[in-house]
Amino acid sequence: MNLRSRLLVLVLATAVLAAIAVVATLRAADRAAEREHARPGDPVARAGAVTLGQPGRLLFRNLAWGPQRDHVSSVPLTAPAGPRTSAPRDCLRFHAAAGTGICLRATGGVVPGHEAVLLDGQLRPVRAFPVPGMPTRARVSPSGRLAAWTVFVSGDSYAGGAFSTRTALYDTRTGTLRPDLEKFTVLKDGRRHRAVDHNFWGVTFAADDNRFYATLATGGRTYLVAGDLARRTLRILRENVECPSLSPDGTRVAFKKRVPGAPAATPWRLHVLDLRTGQERALAERRSVDDQALWLDGHTLLYALPGDFGADLWSVPAAGGGSPRMIVKSGTSPAVTA
């Protein structure tokens, strides 16, 4: 082939490839627009007032298609399958307790950014903190004083595709932000433990607004750590614990655990650990749960499983036995108002 015919081939092929690229983008844009319309048979969500002050309600991120998608929505705990009331507040991750809410959301713009927004009882923003990656976990302490959030800092092309997490704690009373749990001292068997690859995620607070639990990953293993905010320490308690969630009475921790023999991609089963006896119990949920469970009350756990529109919320007895039940279709990131 001479240069002219080669150039001709190049121009033609470029035109075809460009056309394919444009068509693919336009079709994806169309599909995105489709999601703005509610589909028949889906849970109904209507715009309305959502507050953190009304007791006995379940709040979550609504995932049903329609204009209320991604908005914080609320249903009565007595009728979780009923129509949803949605606040005009979009969150990727959400949690709330005692009148304080934390919302991890995407900021607008071409290059995706994310922020953590502290919310008051009316879900109005109080303070926003920029975060360095994709939101994954959010928690408020039972008293509403402390908030914690975890994001994934994605590996850029130079770092070789590895992921790391960053967990921040915020004290609403003193206004102190601790942007990185990695600055805390990690203790293993009473001695300081150092490693480059310390990663933390999934904080859960005790009632005293000082103690908390979290996941530490290092050297390819995960650990349950007990944190002390005042001393800025994290003590390693137990191996193979991820995403702890402390029960309302502070005696048990629900978590996901890697079980041998499960597929590498979906290795987790929900367990509950009794902190006093050190006994752990597998729950009735046989599917792999990759979520930080929430205690609906002292006896029931709530967690998200992948569903048709992202995720559904399921419940299972915390004492073992029973069977999992779907509570909310097309929803994730639950919180309960007391």
Partner: protein, 404 residues
């Protein structure tokens, strides 16, 4: 340069995926990225093997370099489409492993083609131009990806299709405009055509291409083992970027959202300096520039460690210097190795040098991690700086003897 253009569009394609993959996994598929990260690590080793294989295969015949590089590019292009179908972590991991295999396959033959396409005294400039275009593509990729996502909310499939189109364009550019340089000592054109058709080559050629035979031949090439040793020695004391960024971030108390911008600073320095430093290397000697690059790296270490009040300005300085380090070493090493190698061993020889360096850097990272654990971050950095101070003169002494 056509190969530069190939790399540019290919890197646009690759970096589009790198930029959105975490988002896709978490937001699109609802996967836990940490689980994926662990899976991903399993496949990292694939590149080393496929790079050596690519180099070895490419040396086997007349048109092989282009063909091996082309299959590497094509394999990676197909992986972009395969991502559309991959919805489980295992599947995504497998696709990425294939993608990286493609990258490993193409690297050495591509560098061999660059090296063969220009005269020995222009090698530095040629590699400089190539690496600069490559980096430009890497910087553009994420922008294109986010533009697509901005136009189509959650349109990850569109990102994959657009990325495939860019990769396909890269393959096409390679097929149309890159001509494999024929070695004068290669069998006559008749045999060459037979080889191109996939037929077996002459017994003489086959005898030479046995891996062990090739390795033995490579080791006997004057200067090459020494260059590998120098690259490996300096590779061990090169602290990986992610550690440097982490330390910089800690020293500066850099607001977290700016963290992803750090590599952009390095890439900018690399982009600006790759061509001028490549030319400089052609003029004053590639090994000198390569060593000087490591001296610059030492300045980076000192900047990261030193008690400075400079803040962002000093950090920017460190990043640009880190870019300068890469500009003075990445393409320049290939430019130094290229002329040592006879054309028929070009790709395999370059692959060997790259692998020596890559393995040394991996070892360095493990050692640095261990040092961090025992001496803390600053201690580890100081250790690395001291090791670098020792390694550079040793490498220089080595290099002086090799020039004599």
């Amino acid at each position: 340069m056509a190969l530069g253009a190939v790399s540019l569009v290919t890197d646009v394609s690759a970096e589009m995926i790198t930029a959105v993959l975490p988002l896709y996994l978490v937001v699109g598929l609802g996967m836990s990225p940490l689980a994926f990260g662990a899976l991903d690590g399993l496949y990292q080793g694939a590149t080393v093997l496929s790079r050596l294989a690519g180099g070895h295969l490419a040396d086997r015949g007349a048109q092989r370099r282009k063909r091996v590089a082309g299959s590497g590019y094509a394999l990676s292009a197909c992986c972009k489409l395969a991502l559309l179908a991959a919805t489980t972590p295992a599947a995504v991991g497998a696709v990425l492993a294939a993608d990286r295999t493609g990258k490993g396959l193409r690297t050495a033959p591509r560098d061999a083609l660059i090296s063969l396409s220009c005269r020995p005294e222009e090698q530095g400039r040629a590699f400089g131009v190539h690496r600069a275009m490559d980096t430009a593509g890497a910087l553009l990729g994420p922008l294109v990806a986010f533009a697509v996502l901005w136009a189509a909310h959650d349109g990850y499939d569109a990102v994959f299709v657009v990325s495939f189109c860019a990769a396909a364009l890269g393959v096409l550019l390679l097929v149309l405009f890159i001509r494999d340089v024929r070695d004068a000592r290669e069998p006559s054109s008749g045999t060459g055509r037979a080889e191109a058709a996939g037929a077996s080559s002459s017994p003489q050629v086959r005898a030479r291409v046995r891996p062990r035979g090739t390795l033995r031949t490579l080791v006997r090439i004057p200067g090459l083992p020494r260059l590998c040793l120098v690259a490996a020695l300096l590779g061990v004391v090169t602290v990986s970027d992610s550690f440097l960024y982490l330390l910089l971030q800690r020293r500066l108390d850099l607001p977290a959202p700016y963290f992803p911008l750090l590599p952009v600073g390095t890439a900018a320095g690399f982009l600006l300096l790759a061509v001028p430093l490549g030319r400089l290397a052609d003029r004053i000697g590639r090994r000198q520039v390569f060593l000087a690059g490591h001296a610059v790296l030492l300045v980076v270490y000192v900047l990261v460690l030193a008690p400075w009040g400079g803040g962002p300005a000093a950090a920017l300085c460190a990043l640009l210097l880190l870019g300068a380090f890469y500009a003075a070493t990445d393409g320049v090493l290939m430019a130094a190795a290229g002329p040592l190698l006879p054309p028929r061993l070009k790709a395999g020889g370059l692959a060997l040098v790259q692998t020596a360096q890559a393995l040394a850097r991996l070892t360095g990272s493990l050692l640095f991690g261990a040092a961090w654990m025992s001496f803390g971050p600053e201690g580890a950095m100081t250790t690395a700086a001291v090791a670098l101070i020792v390694a550079v003169p040793v490498a220089a002494a080595f290099h002086r003897r090799s020039r004599a």
